[in-house]
């Protein structure tokens, strides 16, 4: 029954801590975005977003005390998003430059000489 299930969540403390952590991360990512970190800036921004997302999933959405199938569902969903992104990006990165849209990152400058 529901009330046994949630006996240990009767304290709002974890929620408050999660909320404070989310606010901290938001401020952090906003501040870092205004500093020039070069190639790292994207990775750092994504790492912070992942940390925020994970805490929402685990504590607000209670995934930490859910049975296996729910966890697996979410993990597989994220895996498939990564899959569709990765295998389309390898295409863009390894494609014959002339078949990329005009004006895009490699199409203009690395055209192989025509023999």
């Amino acid at each position: 029954m529901a009330h046994n299930d949630h006996a240990h969540t009767h304290s709002a403390r974890p929620y408050i801590l999660t909320f404070m952590w989310l606010c901290f991360c938001t401020v952090l990512t906003y501040t870092l975005a205004h500093k020039d970190l070069g190639a790292w800036s994207f990775a750092i921004a994504m790492a912070i977003a992942a940390a925020k997302g994970l805490s929402v999933i685990l504590f607000f959405m209670h995934l930490y005390d859910q049975p296996g199938p729910s966890r697996l569902t979410l993990a597989i969903a994220f895996f498939f998003v990564l899959l569709v992104i990765t295998l389309t990006l390898t295409d863009v990165h390894t494609r014959f430059p002339l078949s990329l849209p005009p004006g895009s990152f490699r199409s203009g400058n690395v055209v192989p000489p025509i023999q």
């Binding site: 597989i76 498939f80 569709v84 295998l87 295409d91 990165h93 990329l100």
Partner: protein, 565 residues
């Protein structure tokens, strides 16, 4: 509201037939508002059968048009619409929902000893969503149709003047129906299994439908967003796939095939599900390699997601990606081969009963093997460059996807017909129709393999005169096929009203769904189920159910309990 009396009746003077799911409530309203998974399954079956005949009509018109090299009965523009509508109707309205939403809905809960699916109202909603999507698509077809092919490739689909938007939205809406069914089945299998029914005791039908549901849930949203983007692009011109603004049509193809390749397994896995039930029943033998069949379903579901790029070999995709996708596509063949091996292993030294469902199994395994092998050939990048967009591809996917699904659909229809309606059909006519269908199917598509190899491109309205002989052969095969379907329609309709009554287990199957009366009562079983034997178990001592004689035309009278007589 009535409930069947569970107490054993002591030979009453006037036999009162216990109420079943068909006659416990009557009236149109009781059907339209039902939450009974069996009724919803039947409603889906009625709709998909109608879609099959509509799509078949389009197919016949295409074949008639191709009888001569130039115009036969329709203009080129009408022809373009015809093959588009044939594809859309057959894929989205027939093949994807046919087995999971139709037969799956009917038998899956019974196979796990459940009273219903986990979310009965969502189940009914799924049928209405399907109808709404179908209505959208049909409206678009009547008001102009679409001429893009069922693949809706950009930039053509975003610039054509035909009515693609309603048809795209129809596909989008039907996707939600598919998702709803998938969610329902996954949750049902997780939470509603009867006491003692562990994962490794699930019937193989359930395993395969479970794997199908995973694909439906994970792949369909990507199709949803893709067709939505295409519709937005056609209506407003956001440029997301338009090279004029920096967009790339190849991205459309990536996203489209991310769904549409796994969608092949949404169609084929349920076909395999049906066959895994039929093989042990008609071989009277334990299934060989239960775990291999069960896990290979999940394997196909997973690996199928890594293969979509084989549709983009000539679309400007990088050679690196083409190589990767080509190799992964071939791996799918390994899982399919595992299944074929195990089915054949089950037949080996079995006591085979050559009934109608088994005839369809023979057609199925032949189409699956040859369709699959041409698929491995097509996954070879260098060969595909030659065959891309020819009739070879058409014949290939009609063999593996359409052929397998069609055989399984008809096999399931004949296998579960007695359970659904408590009556049986004429076995002789069943075998006649099965031979018509299997012969007709081969006669239609083997010429197309040859045509494609000779270089006839798909989706062309006219062709060089030297291709005519094979095209005529293909059309002749298609008419045989059509004749087979009409035969089935006639004798099954007769059987529905005048067929001989059967008991609970006419095939003598060990499947759990046969433990209920035929037709089943509203809540599926008249007594609580115990799962004391593994599924597909024909070896254990004690009671071995035999086939009922009335199925083979014997003179036995109606028994209410065939299995235990």
């Amino acid at each position: 509201m009535s409930s069947p009396s569970p107490s054993p009746t002591t030979t009453p003077a006037v036999p009162v037939e216990p109420k079943n799911y068909l006659n416990c409530e009557t009236g149109v309203r009781s059907w339209l508002l039902t939450r009974d998974h069996k009724r919803i399954g039947l409603m889906f079956l009625a709709c998909v059968t109608a879609a099959l005949f509509l799509g078949g009509l389009f197919a016949m018109l295409i074949r008639i048009e191709l009888l001569t090299p130039d115009e036969t009965i329709m203009s080129a523009q009408t022809y373009n619409r015809m093959f588009t509508l044939h594809g859309v109707v057959m894929i989205f309205l027939f093949m994807i929902p046919a087995i999971p939403s139709g037969f799956g809905n009917f038998v899956l809960p019974m196979m796990i000893g459940a009273e219903d699916v986990a979310f009965p109202r969502l189940n009914l909603a799924s049928w209405y969503i399907y109808l709404a999507g179908a209505a959208f698509a049909l409206w678009g077809m009547v008001h102009g149709g679409a001429d893009t092919g069922w693949t809706f490739y950009t930039p053509y689909s975003t610039t054509t003047f035909t009515k693609v938007v309603p048809i795209l939205l129809g596909a989008f809406i039907i996707g939600f129906s598919s998702i709803a069914t998938g969610i329902n089945f996954i949750v049902t299998v997780h939470t509603m299994r009867g006491p003692g029914l562990t994962w490794n005791k699930l019937p193989l039908f359930v395993w395969s439908i479970y794997a199908t549901s995973i694909i439906q849930v994970l792949a369909t949203p990507i199709l949803g967003i893709t067709v939505l983007l295409t519709a937005i692009e056609h209506a407003f011109g956001f440029g997301i796939f338009d090279p004029a603004h920096g967009g790339d049509p190849v991205l459309f193809q990536h996203m489209f095939w991310f769904y549409s390749h796994p969608a092949v397994y949404i169609m084929v896995l349920p076909a395999m599900a049906v066959m895994s039930e039929i093989v042990p029943t008609f071989a009277r033998k334990n299934i060989f390699g239960y775990k291999a069949i069960a896990y290979s379903s999940v394997g196909i579901a997973l690996v199928g997601f890594f293969a979509w790029g084989h549709h983009l070999f000539t679309s400007g995709q990088s050679t690196f990606n083409a190589g990767v996708f080509g190799v992964i596509s071939m791996i799918v063949g390994v899982f399919t081969a595992i299944k074929v091996f195990n089915w054949v292993g089950t037949l080996y030294k079995g006591r085979i009963r050559f009934s109608t469902p088994f005839a369809y199994f023979c057609g199925f395994i032949y189409l699956l093997v040859f369709g699959g092998m041409t698929g491995v050939a097509l996954a070879t990048v260098s060969l595909d460059v030659h065959w891309q967009d020819t009739y070879f591809v058409i014949a290939h996917f009609h063999f593996i996807m359409v052929g397998a699904t069609l055989m399984a659909f008809l096999a399931a229809l004949h296998y579960w017909f007695p359970k659904m309606f408590g009556r049986t059909y004429s076995e002789g006519w069943g075998l006649v129709a099965a031979s018509l269908i299997i012969l007709g199917f081969n006669a239609t598509f083997i010429p197309q393999f040859l045509l494609g190899n000779a270089g006839m491109p798909r989706r062309y309205w006219s062709y060089p005169a030297e291709f005519q002989a094979l095209n005529v052969a293909s059309t002749a095969g298609a008419s045989l096929l059509a004749f087979g379907f009409l035969t089935i329609l006639v004798y099954l309709t007769i059987a529905l009203f005048y067929g001989e009554k059967v008991g609970r287990n006419p095939w003598g199957s060990r499947g759990y769904e046969w433990n209920s009366p035929s037709p089943p009562p509203k809540h599926n079983f008249d007594s609580p189920q115990v799962f004391d034997h593994p599924p597909h178990d024909y070896d254990s001592e004690g009671h071995e159910p035999e086939m009922q004689t009335e199925v083979h035309g014997g003179t036995e009278v109606h028994g209410d309990d065939g299995a235990k007589r």
